[in-house]
């Protein structure tokens, strides 16, 4: 009797952790830079490709200690984030601050287009299979279904990422500055906060988180061109549900969507593709600004 709810819970948590990982960076970047980064999906894809490529190289010849592959994945994410992050923020986005938000959106869309083909040029169009880390930890039987422990790792990575970000924002000086900027960029400048530095560091952090999502997803899928496109729209939906700029919102939003989708998959399979949009519509009807909206200023 408990098997179905348990399965739904397990599936839901797995999907929720994945959703959270892919949206955390997006909501962070929006909260601080007020930019909706469409290229977020491309950074995810870069992370996936880099992770997959490194894993394939890592396991070539059976030389290295297999569990080290997880560190490799982390390394891939850092590599992508630390390189692409500052490059994009400094090279392109910096020139767009203060412009119409719609134009900023188009810039990130253009970046997405460029990276889509860039990835094809750099990595080719054939799929990358990096399954080894996925099976490394073995499986567990849960209510008659076998779950790889890798899913648990994904959950842990998601919790760690969220937790570390929370600590960063709430317990460090940098975090306090970031919160100030989120609430009021203009006053922050007036208070002498070095906005450009905050922006580049935050964007790099967000990019790394996106790449982290991609890297740890790589062992679970066939890494092909086009994974960015799906991720963008899912990440956006979670961010909107949670409230723009709110990491806690992204966590709760991811959890809700994950559980609802898992329920749909097992109970009403036809709804599977719609669940995330359904949840978003319902949430917006009840709370028009999302679950945890940022501060609203009185206008008159």
């Amino acid at each position: 009797m408990f098997t179905l709810p348990l399965i739904i819970l397990a599936d839901g948590l797995v999907f929720a952790s994945w959703l959270f990982l892919i949206s955390l960076g997006l909501t962070l970047i929006y909260g601080v830079l007020r930019i909706l980064n469409i290229a977020h999906g491309s950074l995810y894809a870069l992370g996936a490709y880099t992770g997959a490529a490194l894993i394939i190289a890592y396991f070539d010849g059976d030389k290295w200690w297999p569990p080290g592959s997880f560190v490799v994945l982390l390394g891939a994410a850092l590599l992508v984030g630390l390189v692409a992050g500052p490059l994009i923020e400094r090279g392109v986005l910096r020139r767009m601050y203060g412009r119409d938000p719609a134009v900023q959106l188009i810039v990130t869309y253009a970046l997405f287009l460029i990276l889509e083909d860039g990835i094809k040029l750099g990595f080719g169009v054939d799929p990358y299979y990096a399954y080894k880390p996925f099976g490394l930890l073995g499986k567990v039987q849960l209510a008659g279904v076998s779950y790889p422990y890798y899913y648990l790792l994904l959950l842990i990575v998601a919790i760690l990422a969220g937790g570390l970000l929370w600590v960063l924002i709430n317990r460090t000086r940098f975090g306090r500055l970031v919160v100030a900027v989120i609430h009021d960029p203009e006053i922050s400048t007036a208070l002498g906060i070095n906005l450009p530095v905050i922006y580049v560091v935050t964007f790099t952090l967000g990019a790394t988180l996106a790449a982290l999502g991609g890297a740890f997803t790589a062992p679970m899928i066939a890494v092909v061109p086009g994974i960015a496109v799906e991720v963008i729209v899912l990440a956006f939906a979670v961010v909107v549900i949670g409230g723009l700029g709110s990491p806690e919102g992204a966590a709760l939003g991811a959890l809700i969507v994950g559980l609802v989708r898992a329920a749909a998959v097992h109970l009403i399979p036809e709804l599977e593709l719609f669940t995330i949009y359904l949840v978003m519509t319902v949430v917006l009807l009840i709370r028009p600004q999302g679950l945890f909206p940022q501060v609203e200023v009185r206008r008159i």
Partner: protein, 313 residues
């Protein structure tokens, strides 16, 4: 100003009409496609005037196209003018429903909800394989135009002229809309919604009406593309299609009713050549071009011709 626009329009109409007689078929096809898509881009611009960016015009684009698909394949309706009416009515009916919900939202929430509805529709189109043909879509046989059966060698040109006529009519209607109280109220809403409320104006109603109007326009574009291409598939409702319309809207700029059409033609031409030039990197080419335009021409392509006079439509 009225006369200038009228003259320009007649001139352009004659020009495009004449071009149809001399240009090769593949160019005519492209132009028809571009102009039809230009109508959808125009619908995006209509909403941008209200300060709203719709990432879901694909919904109406696809809904109208599929309505035509059903009409031809299931109900045996083969006359172009009737199909146009069916498609437009389908998208307007859909918008009348959705608008009740979506017209309450602004900025990114409006954008995301519009995207959600479009993606949901995409899901339906893919899943309902028996009804919609799934990811393969449906074929659209050439319709009769004004009751006449068109011989295959004249089909491209005739469809092109059909598109031209529709575009001309829509430009006139949109022009009147822009000059109207509603058309100006929409700009006022973008500037200052609170003030509009404090003038006794109904912001919600204005946005709702504009949303429905934009949907009809987007649907018309969808029908024309379906007829031109002869095929519909779920991709029409995917977010990347809607994103393309927004992209082109900003490419063309918002300075005039012609701007979206200019942008659409430029876009299709560039896309076509970029693809021919390098099939694997046409997106990158487009992206680089777009960045170039944004950095060098803040007003979009249209501002090239409007450098001296900064005008807002």
């Amino acid at each position: 100003m009225n006369r200038q626009i009228l003259l320009t329009s007649l001139l352009l109409l004659t020009l495009f009409g004449g071009l149809g007689l001399v240009l090769p078929e593949w160019v005519i096809f492209l132009m028809a496609l571009a102009l039809a898509k230009g109508l959808v881009v125009l619908s995006v611009v209509l909403l941008m005037r209200a300060g709203l960016v719709s990432f879901g015009q694909g919904l109406f684009y696809a809904a109208a196209a599929y309505a035509v698909g059903f009409a031809i394949n299931r109900w045996g309706i083969g006359e172009a003018t009737v199909l146009l009416a069916i498609g437009v009515m389908a998208s307007i009916a859909l918008a009348a429903l959705i608008g009740v919900v979506i017209a309450r939202y602004r900025e990114i929430f409006f954008g995301m909800l519009s995207l959600a509805f479009s993606m949901a529709f995409y899901g339906v189109l893919v899943k309902a394989y028996d009804v919609t043909g799934g990811s393969d879509g449906m074929g659209i046989a050439p319709p009769t135009i004004f009751g006449l059966v068109i011989p295959p060698e004249r089909l491209r040109l005739t469809v092109y002229y059909l598109v031209l006529i529709c575009v001309a009519i829509m430009l006139y209607l949109i022009y009147r809309y822009i000059q109207s109280p509603l058309g100006t109220l929409i700009r006022a809403i973008r500037d200052n919604e609170v003030r509009v409320a404090y003038l006794g104006g109904s912001v919600h109603r204005a946005i709702y009406l504009t949303y429905v109007l934009a949907a009809g326009l987007g649907g018309l574009g969808g029908v024309l593309v379906a007829i031109n291409v002869g095929h519909v598939d779920p991709e029409l409702a995917y977010w990347t299609t809607s994103g393309e319309f927004v992209f082109v809207a900003l490419l063309g700029g918002t300075g005039s009713v012609f701007a979206p059409l200019v942008g659409a033609i430029a876009y299709e031409l560039v896309k076509s050549y970029a693809f021919k030039f390098s099939p694997y990197t046409w997106q990158m080419t487009l992206g680089i071009l777009m960045l170039g335009i944004i950095f060098l021409l803040p007003g979009g392509l249209w501002s090239l011709g409007q450098r001296l006079r900064r005008r807002q439509v």
